[in-house]
Amino acid sequence: MAKEPLFSKLFRESPFSLLKKHMEVVNQTVVTLSDFFAAALVGDWQAAETHRNHIGDLEHEADDYKRQLRMSLPRGIFLPVHRTDLLELVHLQDQIPNKAKDFSGVVIGRQTQFPDALGAPIAELIAKGQASTQRILDVIVELEDLFRSGFSDKEQVMIERLVLEVSDIEDSADSDRVKIHDLMRGHESRENPLDMIFLYQQVADLAAVSDIGQEIGHRVLCMISR
């Protein structure tokens, strides 16, 4: 039996498990991002470089899963959800590592010196992004159970609850960002203007992690609503 038998050709790898693997890696990039920031804040550039490389590796790994998932969803495949929903989901998930890479890249490249007053609030913003991706990972894990349980109400309710939490995190990350911007405005006159422009952009990148999380959550709700 050199070739795959007809009957097993009927079954394709579950897109849910690939989506889950992708999200696990995505979550790991955000976890690494907080380690990276901790190192960068105290000026330990060697450790920061290591974390930064790790984020790059994870981003590649996520790309691999993204490609596998896209390959596993050719036309003519039959799924319990819309194919386009899954493609859109993995596209959104994949933007999170990009943000982590952008942020860490600029920090390394410019050896950013964070004003003392900003250290704690930025760490907090990263932690919120991490909390958001962790919830999203939980949602993606639940998707498999939801589908196994025949889209039972109980599973739907659990996913809805998690998505609500993600929305709350996004709200609070948003007000954090406003607070950080206010702090930065107070510092502006004393710092290098170019550094400040970059810093605004970097804070925007970090806040975007929670935004994307919320977007993924809403997309999942659309996908599973009947």
């Binding site: 039996m1 007809l6 349980s149 599973e155």
Partner: protein
């Protein structure tokens, strides 16, 4: 009539060897499709699959294989036309076995999706229409067989859709799904056991010399089904969730469906044995009845029990020597089925195949299972299905029938050349 007297024993030995090879091929190859779904959904392990297949393929072949065997033996060709030239029937049936065995070998090596059933039917129609006469083929019967190839996957798909929807509605969607599963699963087991019991007793057992009235059949089937239901109820009663989390609950429900999966796997093996043994034994039975009656094309003669026995043993040996590997391959390829979705597909396919066996229609077990899986997919029970397989099935019909026919025509004339006539 000299040919039969002169070469009778040689021809019989050739036929027995060919029939046994075909039975071996069924066991080596086709059984894997029947068992792979149950293995893939993790309802049973590979070892359990082999034991179940060995026992229930044999039981199905021996207890319920008679009806389809008699279709292959005397349903496709009108035997009365061959009354004057019985040796042609013998040549043709041997040629068909040869043709099917070789075609299946070639197809298996190349990984082409062919059906044993389609090959043998194509082969018999081929030699009869070309080697004897177009009128010797019972076209009405052939028409209904071909129709059943379309109907059986569609029926299995419809049934599995309904079964899976009922699982979603009444078990997974219930407020207390674990309790609902414990109550529901024995009900499904009752259903399978009753259908199998009825088909075997009404249609199958008369071929092994046991005749039951319809009322007796109902009574015994009810007793048989109730016994199994009680047994399964005792089994699932002990399965309890380890915690109250939703995930553990789903896992517990799947374990309960796993018990059901064992029963449906048995049913599938039984159904497969009852339908596919005929591919090997049907032509052999035809040869045997001509030779043992000394040249009479006796269409009413009783089929000897040793034929079904030979078929059953051949399937089991095929399974033991090669089939277990194919089961492993398929079982490890199909990982996306859960016990709850797998059982619906297998149950629907097993019921369809057993009913086809009772209606003496030779159908493709694999195609029926594909139909069953697609039905579950339509009910959102499978993560991802590749619909191109449907196209592959149609292609295999278009290719296999002429291929089987062409080969059997060639072998028919070769045999005619060797033994004369």
């Amino acid at each position: 009539m000299g040919i039969i007297e002169d070469y009778g024993s040689v021809l019989l030995i050739i036929a027995v060897v060919c029939g046994f090879l075909m039975a071996w091929g069924v066991g080596a190859n086709d059984v894997a499709n029947a068992m792979g779904t149950s293995v893939g959904s993790k309802a049973i392990t590979i070892k359990q699959a082999i034991v179940i297949a060995a026992v229930f393929e044999f039981a199905g072949a021996y207890l319920a294989g008679g009806e389809v065997t008699s279709t292959i033996r005397k349903g496709i060709i009108d035997p009365s036309i061959l009354a004057e030239t019985p040796h042609l029937l013998v040549y043709g049936m041997i040629a068909s076995l040869f043709a099917a065995a070789i075609w299946l070998l070639v197809a298996t090596i190349n990984g082409w999706p062919v059906s044993t059933t389609h090959t043998i039917v194509g082969a018999i129609v081929g030699f009869a229409a070309v080697g004897i006469s177009v009128e010797s083929v019972n076209w009405g019967k052939v028409g209904s067989i071909v129709a059943s190839w379309v109907v059986s996957p569609v029926l299995a798909g419809t049934v599995s859709f309904v079964i899976y929807m009922s699982v979603r509605r009444f078990i997974l969607g219930s407020k207390t799904p674990v309790q609902a599963a414990r109550r529901g699963v024995p009900f499904y087991i009752f259903l399978v056991a009753f259908i199998i019991g009825m088909v075997s007793m009404v249609k199958g057992l008369k071929h092994v010399g046991l005749s039951l009235s319809f009322e007796q059949s109902i009574t015994y089937s009810l007793i048989f089904a109730s016994g199994l239901t009680l047994f399964s109820w005792l089994l699932v009663r002990r399965i309890k969730p380890s915690s109250n989390s939703a995930h553990d609950e789903i896992m517990t429900i799947e374990r309960i469906f796993g018990v059901l999966g064992i029963f449906t796997a048995c049913a599938m093996a039984f159904a497969h044995g009852s339908n596919d043994v005929a591919n090997a034994i049907g032509p052999l039975a035809a040869v045997n009845s001509v030779l043992s009656s000394g040249g009479m094309v006796a269409s009413e003669a009783m089929m000897p029990k040793w034929l079904l026995l030979l078929g059953g043993v051949g399937i089991v040996i095929g399974l033991a020597t090669y089939g277990y590997r194919v089961i492993r391959t398929i079982g490890s390829n199909i990982t996306e089925l859960t016990p709850s979705s797998g059982f619906a597909a297998v149950l629907a396919a097993a019921a369809t195949v057993v009913i086809a066996s009772g209606a003496s229609l030779p159908i493709s077990t694999t195609h029926t299972l594909v139909g069953g899986v697609l039905g579950v997919g339509l009910a959102h029970g499978v993560a991802a299905l590749n619909l191109r397989v449907i196209g592959t099935i149609f292609t295999s019909w278009v290719v296999t029938l002429p291929a089987g026919a062409a080969l059997s025509i060639i072998f028919f004339y070769v045999l005619k050349g060797i033994f004369g006539g």
